[in-house]
């Protein structure tokens, strides 16, 4: 074998698949015309390539098209939103020419991408915060004060509460602020003694009676109180306003369902702690709302009538929800959504689709026996279901797993009839 033949042999794959520069390929082809061995080697490769072209490409099912394109649309919208909210420093792709794209970004662009990456920015922010905190600790109020020795640390007196931050704090603040409550505070700060439930004498004491009978206000009476009342009113209004579903999305807007729950929890906690409250917590919120209404806040005014039952977020179409969940791989949500589809008025296609994907979810989780029950219901009840071929294939796969070869063959026969046009689908 000559050197030229060895070179030809080493570059045979590149030559056969056109990955050589033209002048080099020309040289090798000229050599092949003169060398029978090399020519035969090249001919054999090209013959196999020719035979390989006889194998046609395969097509996947079309049922996934809608799911994937729907997801792509949502993702594109997300990208578009991010683009409009980001500060425009450089038009996307402006620095990348087609030639650059083919070769990959340059070192400059890689460095730029590295220093502009969100991860690096986050790390830099965290590092900065840590450094600042360190310096503040060094020079802050906890430094050594004159008169202290060694490592003694001076504790400043706690800052007294002036404005409560929520109802619980309001109650505590009122209790602490009143002179009568100071007495009980001193009692609680006395040297520790075994817990004793408060005696009847204590309960009937003037201080305690005064505290219990004092009207509970929402937020005090200052300017902060008005702000809090406005916030609360608007929050309540928002909570009461039904949210409209946004097409193509499955995000749920959080509503004010937290407010009554947290109020109930606070009530329970108070009752358990022995602090009996005459006024139910709900009164506080209602009073705040009434204040807001009286103040003329339009959102709250519209809801001045008795509070309706908390509205849960109106669901998006169950069918859409099930489809999205199935696409994400969340079979639990998909099963629940598709079950709801079957329990409400739906179109024939939606029912069939739901049954199909209930079976598919079972199959995904390895429960072929259950999956087959859904598939058989589909096969029998929705003969013209447009994705019947997919469902038959999936059912056939389950039949094979369970050893039901007769049924698998029946599925195959039905697939053949549909593909051959003997059986029509929608």
């Amino acid at each position: 074998m000559t050197d030229e033949c060895k070179q030809f042999d080493s570059l045979l794959m590149d030559l056969a698949y056109g990955e050589l520069p033209e002048h080099r390929a020309e040289e090798l082809r000229n050599h092949a015309e003169q060398c029978a061995t090399c020519r035969a080697a090249l001919d054999e490769v090209m013959l196999v390539r020719k035979m390989s072209t006889q194998l046609p490409p395969l097509e996947p099912t079309e049922s996934m098209d809608a799911i994937i394109l729907h997801q792509a649309t949502e993702a594109a919208d997300q990208f578009a939103k991010q683009k409009t909210s980001e500060p425009v420093t450089e038009k996307a792709g402006a620095g990348l020419s087609p030639a650059t794209i083919d070769r990959g970004p340059s070192l400059q662009e890689r460095l730029r991408a590295f220093f502009l990456s969100p991860a690096l920015a986050t790390a830099a922010v965290v590092a900065l915060v840590l450094v600042i905190s360190f310096f503040l600790v060094q020079k802050g109020p906890l430094q050594d004060k004159p008169g202290l020795e060694g490592n003694q640390i001076a504790f400043e007196a706690p800052i007294p509460l002036t404005e409560p931050t929520d109802i619980q704090d309001q109650d505590d603040a009122e209790e602490e602020a009143s002179p009568a409550a100071e007495e009980s505070l001193k009692e609680s700060m006395a040297p520790s003694k075994p817990f004793e439930p408060k005696s009847e004498q204590h309960r009937a004491s003037p201080a305690n009676m005064a505290r219990r009978s004092a009207p509970k206000r929402g937020y005090g009476s200052g300017s902060l109180a008005k702000e809090k009342a406005t916030e609360d009113a608007l929050y309540q209004a928002d909570y009461l306003r039904p949210t409209e579903p946004v097409l193509g999305t499955t995000t749920r807007k959080k509503t004010g369902a937290m407010a009554p729950k947290s109020a109930a929890k606070r009530k329970d906690a108070k009752q358990q702690s022995g602090l009996v409250d005459d006024a139910p917590n709900g009164l506080v919120l209602d009073e705040a709302r009434e204040e807001a209404v009286a103040g003329g806040y339009p959102a709250a005014q519209a809801q001045a009538e008795p509070t309706p039952k908390a509205l849960s977020n109106p669901p998006t179409s169950d069918f859409r929800m099930g489809t999205d969940a199935y696409t994400r791989g969340d079979c639990k949500t998909a099963t629940a959504a598709f079950t709801r589809v079957l329990n409400q008025p739906s179109s024939v296609h939606e029912e069939a689709y739901a049954i199909h994907h209930l079976g598919a979810c079972e199959k995904r989780q390895g429960r072929c026996a259950k999956a087959i029950r859904w598939y058989e219901r589909l096969f029998a009840g929705y003969p013209r279901y447009k994705n019947m071929v997919d469902a038959l294939r999936e059912g056939r796969s389950c039949y094979l797993r369970l050893g039901q070869t007769q049924k698998a063959q029946s599925a195959t026969d039905r697939i053949n009839r549909i593909m051959g046009g003997a059986e029509k689908l929608d």
Binding site: L12, M13, D14, Y17, E19, E44, L47, V48, R49, K50, M51, S52, T53, Q54, L55, P56, P57, L58, E59, P60, T61, M64, D65, I67, I68, L69, Q71, A72, T73, A75, A76, D77, F79, A80, K81, K83, A92, G93, L96, I101, D102, P105, A113, T327, G366, D390, R393, E394, R396, S397, L400, R401, G403, T405, A408, Q409, T412, I415, N416, M419
Partner: protein, 188 residues
Amino acid sequence: MQRFQNGDRDAFEGLYQRYKAPIFTFLVRQYTSQDNANEITQEVFIRVIRNAASFRHGSKFATWIFTIARNLAIDFLRKAKHRAYASLDQQMGDNGPTLGDRIAGNSPNPDQASAQSNLRDDITQALAKLPDDQREVFLLREYHGLPFREIATVVNAKEGTVKSRMRYALETLRHELAHHADYARTLP
């Protein structure tokens, strides 16, 4: 892909239509049944959509998507390894046809006695006989047009190794399909 990353809704559809069949074909011929390949293909595109923001134009899209497909298929097969399947090669009774013979696929009607049909069947069987690493290189180069350099990235091997595997695959196929050589020479 760049247009899709910029929020162009229709941009992805072009990519999807272009790569849907190649990805599916690759998965069927290299790894698994059509049912499973459908599921994996869907998962491939969902992964592409979810990770679109992280796609950098340092490599070609084809390389990226085929790498995703290959990795997902390998994961799938690893999980499915322990499940019991009815073998498609198991004969139904004495001298009966195998289950695989009786299951319909996308290939032409096996009743057709044309040389083309026989060739297709023999190519399919010959491909199945190739070792996995040779077969995937052959499929990616021959049917999906990926250059050897890109294939090396997909399969995580050196370019020289990829060319060697291709060479061995071609030799094996030539040997398996030798009886079709005369017919193949008449093809355009």
